[in-house]
Amino acid sequence: MRFVRRYLIPRLIQYVLVNILGITMIFILPRLMPNGPVEKTVAQIQDRGAYTDPKAAEQTVKALKELYGLDQPLITQYVIFWRRLFTLDFGPSLVSFPTPVMTLIGQSLPWTFGLLFTTMVFIFILGNLFGGLAGYFRQNRFLRILDGVFMVLAPMPYYIIALMLIIIFAYIIPIFPVGGGYTIGAPIGFTWAFIKDVLIHATLPALSLIIIGTATTHQIMRLIVQGVNEEDYVRYAHIGAVKESTVFSRYVMRNATLPQITRFAMGFSGLFSGALVTEVIFAYPGIGFLSYHAILTSDYNVLMGVTTLSIIALTTSTLLMDLLNPLFDPRIRLT
């Protein structure tokens, strides 16, 4: 009972409030901007070179505002926005018109999920293993070189790594395709050829994510392990002549991996926004690519949908982590 009152309820209240705050912000911010989606759409029609006389343009603006429901008072819009949010209805896409936004998101989600989940598992294993070893065996020459490499890689902006990979593996040594999720025109189905095709296309994007992610995780894990090394129980184990490998795996790594599990789970929050740059660079047909296209074509509804979902994903995974942490880590007291 004490757990529910002191731990669960405050966190649930905070969860709801933060969601309301975040979603309200993305509702209000675009409405404060000088030119909204309507003006953008009209400007785009004019960009295509069609002559529009001012009167017609004005009427278009009026008609579009009515169509999008932007002529109503702000409060009414806000209420309608929330009511539709509960049914996960973000309206139709403005560019591929009658298709609902949710259908588009549903089509792209499996690609992003597959890519992110695979890379996250790789990053978790590789980063923690190398980081743990580097933190524990600090004199090892090979690990020190690796450490230096990761130290340069870690602060590197992501797209530069991606760009390098494309230049090297798609132009100079063309063994991987430049981009895309699968060969255009290939028959889609659960055939071996198609799966192989998808895997080959996913290699470069995955590799770029793994390199940068492993470097960052490695840096953090090394510091955590160095911290754990100083603990009294590790010194005690050394004095008690516990085998070195046992100290490393049972005493140090087990304790150091705990905070990393949190980071692993938080990775899922990036499902809707994290892979934007990757997918744009590699033209990978996931959520990021969808939002990029929405950006280019000012497809406002799609952007609102993706942003809202990513806020909910982020807050939900934070909440789940808060609730699950005591299960992983018995040292956390529920107060």
């Binding site: 797209y159 990029y292 990513s310």
Partner: protein, 284 residues
């Protein structure tokens, strides 16, 4: 002086500072540029590096070297301005929230949590998309400044929380020091090193965000920054045409800037507090 000497004993700091000085010298050279970098077709197009054009020329007829100096200047300026703006917000929120506590603290930290969970890249994308044509360096700096303060405000707040319990606080209050004097004269000094360390960290974040937005073509393309130079190079298919100097120049400069800032922030926070290292790497 003593502090500086101690900092320079760290190799990472010396390397970072050296690279930073080179970049700043390059940035200052942009004021002596023989070409107006915003004007196209001033020099022959697609020329490889030569004594005349140190880093070659672009397909738009710009000299890559002088373009790069202007880009470095704008990028560093932008990073510094937005980091400074967000530091001011973070300091105000952290000091007020940490010292006053109570209801004000709860409200501020609630807003703070709200900002932390926002998907920053997407929201910046959404906003940049809408005001793209009117984005000057200043508005862009404001935009980044407003988005980038939340996490650091929390660090500052937690430090103030511990300062509030120190004896000198009680002495000051009992001897009748006004609140604003206590905060400015006493607390600010303690919080300053942490603020400086987060300033560098924030500059890395801003530069990364700016290059990402520019890369996606969302910022004002008429102001050359590292991201914009890269954007043009990719848009004009520099890789495909083999104009490697055009693409490697901004990439190299960006890498140098990132590594220099990262080394500086690492050695700086090590210098402040060995335990802070974990936090610094974690907040990227």
């Amino acid at each position: 002086m003593e502090t500086l000497r101690a900092l320079f004993r760290d190799t990472r700091f010396s390397i970072g500072a050296a690279v930073m000085v080179i970049l700043i010298v390059l940035a200052l050279m942009s004021f002596f540029s023989p070409y107006d970098v915003t004007v196209w077709r001033l020099v022959p197009r697609d020329q490889p590096p030569s004594p005349e054009h140190l880093l070659g020329t672009t397909s738009l007829g710009q000299d890559v070297f002088w373009l790069l100096t202007a880009a470095i200047r704008n990028s560093i300026l932008l990073a510094f301005c937005s980091a400074a703006i967000s530091r001011i917000i973070a300091l105000t929120v952290g000091l007020v929230s940490g010292y006053l506590g109570g209801a004000i603290d709860r409200v501020l930290m609630f807003v703070n949590d709200g900002f932390i969970v926002l998907p920053q890249l997407l929201i910046l994308t959404l906003l940049a998309l809408l005001i793209q044509e009117n984005l000057s360096l200043l508005t862009l700096a404001l935009l980044f400044g407003v988005m980038g303060w939340a996490l650091d405000a929390r660090f500052i707040r937690s430090q103030v929380l511990s300062l509030r319990e120190r004896e000198f606080t009680y002495t000051a209050i009992l001897s009748g020091t006004p609140l604003y004097k206590l905060i400015i004269n006493e607390y600010l000094l303690y919080v300053m090193p942490l603020t400086l360390a987060t300033l560098i960290g924030n500059m890395i974040w801003v530069t990364g965000m700016e290059v990402t937005l520019a890369y996606l073509g969302l910022t004002n393309v008429s102001i050359p920054t590292l991201g914009i130079v890269l954007h043009f190079a990719l848009n004009y298919q520099a890789i495909l045409l083999g104009l490697y100097w055009w693409i490697f120049a901004p990439v190299g400069a960006a890498v140098a800037l990132f590594v220099a800032l990262y080394l500086l922030s690492q050695s700086f926070s090590d210098f402040l507090d060995p335990r802070a290292r974990i936090q610094r790497v974690g907040t990227r």
